[in-house]
Structure formats: structure tokens, C-alpha cells
């Protein structure tokens, strides 16, 4: 009897130790409050819901609009604060994603996402097709299509670049819900014309 007790105790103990790691592998729970919505007039909005179950918006932000990202949304990610709850948000785990072609993207919308400082802002670091001169940190993407990278490679690079380059200076667009699947497809349609 004692042995059973010890055995179950050990099992529960082991499970308990594993729990934090299991939790770390999923999308961080606070990001479940963030919803992307397409409005009828073609805008993309980020809406911070009160909670996962209560859809009442705390704050809204129009992608590509005039406003900076609201602090309430930025609080969902790790921060520099010592005293606020975001101090204890762990770094998001690397997300490896599968991509199913074809791209099915809207290149015009992708261009808007890529060149807007308050949306995807790819141009901050990259030069882009259609003659957009940008930053010099990332590689020049104006003829990216000619490199013939596999589509799933490009998709993963945008979704979570850490899968290839753990320390590179590039946003983890998909993992942190900066862009959704369709947004990334649109950007791919723009930087990979003819693919």
C-alpha cells in the first residue's frame, strides 16, 4: 500500500515538474486575448478582448493607422519593467509551422503591410520590390523571387525566424500575432511575384 502511495506520488510529482515546460510549448495564454478583425471597409484591426471568454474590447488598434501600438497590447509580451506583470511573461517558444501552397495571397495588400511603419514594416530593414528602398539590416528583397527559396522556408522565416537564426534581428511575426496566416501569404505574394 505504501508502495502504491509512493508510486502515485512520484508520478504526480513528475507530472508537476513537467507542467511548466508543457505550458511553455503552447501559445502564451495572454495572446489568446488578441484578435485580428477585417472590417468591411478593408481595414485590419487588432482588438484586445477583456478575456478569452469575454469579447468586450479593452482597446482597438488599426493596422497601418496613425496610432502607435497601445501599451495595453504591448503588455501581453515580455517587457523591461521590474514591477509590472509583464516582467514575468516568459519568452515565447519557437513555433515551427507547416505551410501548404499555393501562396494564395494578395500582392497589393502584402505591399501595404510591408511598407507601412505601423503594420509589418518590412521596409525598416529590407529593400523591397516595386522600387521601395528600405533599411540595410536585412537582405535586399527586391529580387528575392530569383533566389528560388522553397515556399515553406520563406513562410517559416516570416512566422518565426528563430527556427533558422536564433539571434537574428527580425520580428517573430506569426508567433507573436503581429501578422496572421493570410497577412503573411499576402506579403509572400508581394515579395515573390510569379510564384
Amino acid at each position: 500500500m505504501i508502495r502504491t502511495m509512493i508510486r502515485d506520488g512520484i508520478v504526480a510529482f513528475a507530472l508537476a515538474l513537467m507542467l511548466p515546460f508543457a505550458a511553455g510549448a503552447q501559445m502564451s495564454p495572454q495572446l489568446e486575448r488578441l484578435e485580428h478583425v477585417q472590417t468591411p471597409d478593408g481595414q485590419t484591426k487588432l482588438i484586445l478582448k477583456t478575456s478569452k471568454t469575454d469579447p468586450k474590447p479593452v482597446v482597438e488598434w488599426v493596422a497601418g493607422g496613425p496610432a502607435f501600438m497601445p501599451p495595453d497590447i504591448l503588455k501581453l509580451y515580455p517587457c523591461h519593467s521590474v514591477e509590472e506583470p509583464c516582467a514575468n511573461i516568459p519568452a515565447p517558444a519557437v513555433e515551427k509551422v507547416a505551410f501548404k501552397g499555393p501562396i494564395n495571397g494578395n500582392a497589393k495588400r502584402g505591399e501595404a503591410i510591408a511598407i507601412n511603419i505601423r503594420w509589418g514594416n518590412c521596409i525598416a530593414c529590407h529593400s523591397l520590390p516595386n522600387g521601395h528602398k528600405g533599411g540595410t539590416i536585412g537582405i535586399d528583397l527586391s529580387a528575392y523571387a530569383s533566389l528560388n527559396h522553397p515556399l515553406d522556408y520563406v513562410y517559416q522565416r516570416i512566422w518565426d525566424n528563430r527556427a533558422f537564426a536564433p539571434d537574428a534581428h527580425m520580428p517573430i511575426y506569426g508567433t507573436n500575432k503581429v501578422l496572421l496566416d493570410q497577412d503573411i501569404r499576402d506579403v509572400m505574394a508581394f515579395i515573390l511575384p510569379g510564384k
Binding site: 502515485d8 523591461h80 511603419i117 520580428p171
Partner: protein, 319 residues
């Protein structure tokens, strides 16, 4: 499940609760940009990073020689115009700080009343800031010291760290240390060393929606490359120019008030990088300022200078 098994599971859960709380308090999984271990609290530490200090910007003569050789500004860590050259615009904006400093309230009290008409008693103090506040025991930056002074001596609560008046006063007070060599001790055990170590961790910690660290922009290969319309500097020696006349970012008011304290600069960087922008004067901000000041140890303060490497086109709204 029989009774002992339930007891066993409960015991296990109890241990889980204990370890989980412990884990949450201490072991938050963080990611950092590499390089923290190479940092030393002296401006010459740049040798392990951009390695342009000795050849291009370690003192006035070296900067002049580099300019003469045609070395681009970005390889002089922008010290040619942000440090060597004083700013007339900055000096004109500073008049507002001078006036605030001398202005007497209804009871005849002013900053000048304690610290001397021209700030004689504040000469050189910025070279030793941030420092541990004698009474509170907390590490304190100059804008916070201004706020505390105003609250306690002048009974004013409108000089918070992020206000225009505070920045203007900090700008004037900073100028009283022009030419002094920064020297804060972050190696002897104590609150300042602890703050430095925390600040170093924060500077290299990946944060925010984009999952960037301060160090992402301010170390190679991003430092000196174009990001947006700007070229970020290496972080060594930068604290020596702050507060700085920082065109085109403006304090409230439509005039020449383009003054950035280092606290304000940290917040501006966070906002542009989609990190949660904290409060100026808050513990995390102070830690980052201590770190940035310590890596400017051994470098001369130069105030007022200006920063103007913005390509403005990019900030305009795109149709």
C-alpha cells in the same frame, strides 16, 4: 483510486504547487541577444563590440583625425556631430531650463536658492549619476532627483520625470558637468552594482511584440546599418551626450523644445520597437540608465549637443 494513492497524488500536487510558485518567482524563461558576458563597465569595452573606439572616437584629437581621413560618421559612433560639436539650437532651448532653475515661487524659493545662482554647487554632479540616494537608499537618476527636490523643497508636484519642465531642468543641470569624465562605481558590492547587473540583463533581454532587445539595434550588424531612416549607434559612450537636443522629437509645446533625457530616450526606443513603454524613473528604466552610464565610464560629458540623423520622409503617413 484507493485512499493511499489519493494521498500520494495530493502530496505530489502539494510539491507541484510549491515548485510552481518557486518557478514563477525566479525562473521565467528569457531569451537574450548574445554578448552580455563581453561587456565591461568602461567606454573602452567597445573594443569587444564595434571596435571603433581606439581608432575613431576615443578623444577630440582622434575624432578630428578620423573626420580628416574621411571616415564616415557612423564609424565614429556619431561622436563627430553628437559630441565634438556643441549645438546652438540646444543652447537656445536650454534658456528655458535656466529660467526654471532661477525662477522664485511665491515664498521666494527656487533651485538657485540652494544650489547657487549659476548652479555652482551642481557643477560636475552628472559625472557621478545615477547614484544611491542618501535617504531613500534607492538608485536615483537626475530627473528623479529633480522631482524629489521639487516635492520636498519647493512643494511642487508638477516636475515628474516625464514632464517638459523636468527635461529642461535636467538639460541645464547636465550642461554644468560639460567636460567632466563619467565615473560611476558599479564593481563594488552595493545597490549600484546590482542595478548595473540588472540593467545589463534588461539591455540584452528580448522583449515586446517584435521580440527585440535594445542590444539588437545597438550591436553589430544592426548598429551603423540603416533601420527605418536611422542608423543606431554602439551603446558605449552614448550616455555622455544626454540630455540631448533631439530633433525632430518634441516635448509638449510648439517651439524649440526638442530635449531628450536618457530616460526619455529609453522610452522612445521602446515605443518605436513595439516594446511596452514603461514609466520614466521606474526601477527598470533606472537600471538601464545605470548600465548605459557605466559603459560610458571614462568618457567626457558633452552637453548641449544635438542628434539629427533622421530621414523625415519615412515618418510621413503613406497613402
Amino acid at each position: 483510486m484507493d485512499k493511499p494513492a489519493i494521498l500520494g497524488a495530493l502530496l505530489g500536487l502539494g510539491v507541484f504547487g510549491f515548485t510552481a510558485v518557486g518557478a514563477m518567482a525566479q525562473d521565467v524563461r528569457r531569451e537574450h541577444v548574445p554578448g552580455r558576458e563581453k561587456v565591461i563597465p568602461h567606454v573602452s569595452g567597445d573594443r569587444h563590440f564595434s571596435n571603433t573606439y581606439d581608432s575613431n572616437w576615443k578623444d577630440e584629437a582622434t575624432i578630428r583625425a578620423a573626420i580628416k581621413k574621411g571616415v564616415p560618421s557612423r564609424e565614429i559612433n556619431f561622436k563627430d556631430f553628437r559630441w565634438l560639436q556643441k549645438s546652438l539650437d540646444g543652447d537656445m532651448a536650454m534658456d528655458e531650463g535656466r529660467e526654471l532653475y532661477a525662477k522664485k515661487d511665491a515664498k521666494g524659493r527656487s533651485c538657485a536658492g540652494c544650489h547657487g545662482d549659476g548652479g555652482e554647487k551642481l557643477k560636475g554632479i552628472q559625472a557621478g549619476y545615477p547614484k544611491v540616494h542618501a535617504r531613500t537608499g534607492k538608485v536615483t537618476v537626475i530627473p528623479t532627483q529633480i522631482r524629489i527636490c521639487a516635492e520636498e523643497r519647493l512643494e511642487r508636484n508638477d516636475l515628474k520625470e516625464d514632464t517638459r519642465a523636468n527635461a529642461m531642468l535636467a538639460f541645464f543641470i547636465g550642461s554644468l558637468s560639460d567636460g567632466k569624465v563619467i565615473n560611476i562605481d558599479v564593481t563594488s558590492p552595493g545597490p549600484l552594482k546590482d542595478s548595473y547587473e540588472r540593467g545589463k540583463e534588461l539591455f540584452f533581454r528580448r522583449t515586446g511584440m517584435f521580440h527585440f532587445a535594445c542590444a539588437h539595434c545597438h550591436t553589430a550588424p544592426t548598429a551603423t546599418s540603416y533601420i527605418r531612416g536611422q542608423r543606431p549607434s554602439t551603446f558605449f559612450g552614448d550616455a555622455s551626450q544626454y540630455p540631448i537636443w533631439h530633433y525632430p522629437f518634441q516635448l509638449p509645446g510648439q517651439d524649440r523644445g526638442f530635449v531628450f533625457t536618457l530616460q526619455h530616450q529609453i522610452r522612445s526606443c521602446q515605443t518605436l520597437s513595439r516594446m511596452y513603454p514603461g514609466q520614466e524613473g521606474s526601477p527598470g528604466f533606472v537600471d538601464i540608465e545605470v548600465f548605459l552610464t557605466a559603459v560610458s565610464n571614462g568618457y567626457k560629458i558633452s552637453i548641449p549637443t544635438m542628434q539629427h540623423n533622421m530621414q523625415m520622409e519615412y515618418l510621413k503617413e503613406r497613402e
